[in-house]
Symmetry: none
Subunit: 171 residues, 4 copies
DNA sequence: TATGAATGAGCCTTCATTCAT
DNA sequence: TATGAATGAAGGCTCATTCAT
């Protein structure tokens, strides 16, 4: 792949992330192309289908999240990651609309990272030992989605997370 | 012919509920008409706009939920309602996509019903006294949304709810 | 035909005349029914086709004009009629949109009335003898149409008619 | 591919001019596409709205008329232009239906051209000095519209114009 | 005869995808 | 490889007309 092709791919992904984050997955591919500064044909050359483009975004997003998680750790790592994720507005709408796009591998790696945070938190005694990775992931996704719905101001967000954290906490 | 019209209205709402529950709000009005067994024009006669149709469904759905909630009560009412809601597949996708359709009144009534359940649970000592209605609603919505995303089998659903309930529980 | 049927027919025609005069022939038949205070089915019972309704309106309109013309006469009858017609806003849009609806008989009778006015004017020496009925009718229609187009204020209307009248005038 | 696009744009305008001239502005955009030999999407790529297409036609039409008028002049320029315009069947229905589409600039330029013809005719003594541009424009539009209505054969057209010209003539 | 709900063809418009340049 | 014009299948919606009540 030529250097400029590589550069275009990146631009397209960036543009797509922004466009879909703002307008949802229903936004048109043309708008992505426009923001990326390329022609529509170029988008389809790199991502033969709109779904491919969505999947690529999600994959990259998940990879970043996994990387982010990997940088954390210790007793509060899980809580920090959880909170941070819920705060990221951009990442959020994505997750909602991308339902159906399957990128099991990337999700798997994110799951691994979260699992590691969970392990450390349990080791440090911050989180109950009988909580498993699947339910933590489920809660993570749930609260992110929920945050998208209504007018969660910071206070509500904090109180909602507090309940979840209390549920996870060791007695 | 008032009777026919009434019957058709009901059929259309039922069909719409099913179609949108399965395919999301992006599903076509034509498909609703087909499932309802009426012509497309009939759908638009009853609901002049697709958004009107969506709003009508949501309104009815919320009314049912509120009614459902009103029938519960006691120490475990909130938990029962919470669990039941998460189980209802049909109701779920709806909530995701219907965001933006404003039916404040209906939502308000649902909130009231949930608030009442919360009050009773707190009175019975099942739920912490420092938890407010807003965060309970937020958790409700969140977990419903989350349940839509992945392959939540019954076990995962139960374990996820268990964490939330633990978070709500009085010590 | 029953008395109430007769009455409905009249109401429908009146409503249609008003609706089509204001919104043009593209206005919906439903709106006519609404204004007439009858159900849509009743409109179609009296006028099996929208075109039939339009034709009926035009016919009645032309009949009235002919009657109007018949009441005039003398040296200035033609000029008076001509001017009056151009002033009638309601009658105008009609004529534009009703193109294609053929009501030769009614037009014929109007033509007769205008012809008579022309004859009298020529006899009185107000109008040149070598002008025929067809061109007078053509001018009548033309100026009515023209008046529909732009912002003909009264002054412009008068000056435009003045040119036409000068063209018709005996030297 | 600029060339193709340009060619298509032209084809579409030509097709639209013909279709709308024959069937009126109510004709479907699909028919325009069919006659132009392009897909419906292509029409909408060039003219995002039906109204845009209508406006474009009218604009081009008026530009041609203005250009045509600019090529004339002298004592009979106005009469020639007037007659020619009335003869153009294609141009005519357009003007009827396109009312409401605002292309003031183009209309303005046409008015200028006609004004110039009028000035020259008055200078040459062919037309009365007390006739203004507005009423000439009004007559122009009127007779064009009128010509659209009925069965104006050539003779009737000539005789009708003769009256108008007599009205304009200096004594 | 009146009512008004139902029908369904047809319209304008959007957008993912293809393909000639 | 990039461009961007062309394609054409839907989709939402309107409205003349029919028909059961």
């Amino acid at each position: 792949m030529r250097a400029d092709a590589e550069r275009n791919r990146g631009r397209i992904l960036d543009a797509a992330e922004e466009v879909f984050a703002q307008r949802g997955a229903a936004a048109s591919t043309e708008e992505v192309a426009r923001l990326a500064g390329v022609a529509i044909g170029t988008v389809f050359r790199h991502f033969p289908t709109k779904e491919d483009l969505l999947a690529a975004i999600l994959k990259r997003l998940l990879a970043r999240l996994a990387e982010d998680a990997a940088g954390l750790g210790g007793a509060d790592g899980l809580h920090t990651f959880f909170t941070r994720l819920v705060q990221q507005a951009a990442a959020r709408r994505m997750v909602v609309d991308l339902v159906g796009v399957s990128v099991p591998a990337a999700v798997g790696r994110l799951g691994d990272a979260v699992g590691e945070l969970l392990r450390q938190a349990q080791e440090a005694g911050t989180v109950r030992g009988d909580v498993g990775r699947p339910e933590v992931m489920a809660l993570l996704v749930s609260v992110c989605q929920g945050a998208l719905q209504g007018g969660w101001d910071e206070g509500l967000q904090a109180r909602t997370l507090a309940v979840v954290f209390a549920g996870l906490a060791a007695r």
